[in-house]
Symmetry: C2
Subunit: 174 residues, 2 copies
Amino acid sequence: MDFKLDKAIEILERTPGVIEELLNGLSQEWVMNNEGNDTWSPYDIVGHLIHGEKTDWIVRMEIIISDNDDKTFQPFDRFAQFEQSKGKTLQQLIDEFKELRKQNIAVLISKKFNEGTLNKTGIHPVFGIVTLSQLLSAWVVHDLSHIAQIARVMAKQYKTGVGPWQAYLPILNL
Amino acid sequence: MDFKLDKAIEILERTPGVIEELLNGLSQEWVMNNEGNDTWSPYDIVGHLIHGEKTDWIVRMEIIISDNDDKTFQPFDRFAQFEQSKGKTLQQLIDEFKELRKQNIAVLISKKFNEGTLNKTGIHPVFGIVTLSQLLSAWVVHDLSHIAQIARVMAKQYKTGVGPWQAYLPILNL
């Protein structure tokens, strides 16, 4: 699919609802267990998505479309959620994510981008020049990738429980 | 996590709603595109889940708890949806999945399984003896695995669109 802003927004606007439907009201074990060692639980992932709304996608979009000479993005903190989610319930995190996402989509729509704007560029701290359309595509894929991750983390809780079915369920070996 | 029926039902009962939230109202491209060649689109996956409700999980559960001498399961048809979904809209498929899942969970609850029943066994056509608790665990993991697959199939539509971000989004290379 070629990038089209309206198609991207179709995904972005539904992610908080998908995550709420996936996680809300589940037992703590489903929500708080991870894949072992330093991996993330579904709860951690929601915190990570919140931090992205605050410091990543829209912030970088603003840098790209700004008239600044320096278009270099700040590195994204992949561990901020461990501090920032402290003391919050999952429902509080989901509500926060919902609200931030709603605001960010409103900002995105308000810009009324044309083809030319989508080709404007910024500098990613690791891989250099990127376009606005690549940034917005990555935002969509990032959402979908964390939905898949949440499903995988929960699936892994039954890794031994499925017995020989493990051979037919490749998600358990990712 | 050890298998507990109530925890398993927490996941099983929300899957149709998660899939509805993920897919309902999306443009055709998101719903009908696949990962290339003989892979499945999100639309195909919903059809596959419907066929599982009709011929797989509950049917095999009934075989395990029956007094039949022959406890061998029928092989599951992984391609039935290509015929059975024909002419149906995605919304029709989602509604059908919702209804079947509701009925099947009602059947599951009506059995009032105890530990002993969960250890009863059947014969899988490929890997032999399996317990009821393994079958029910596999049902849960199967749901989560297809939620992850739907997210991945949609993510892949932007595989080239994300440009250099591909290196940070491993879902695009699965």
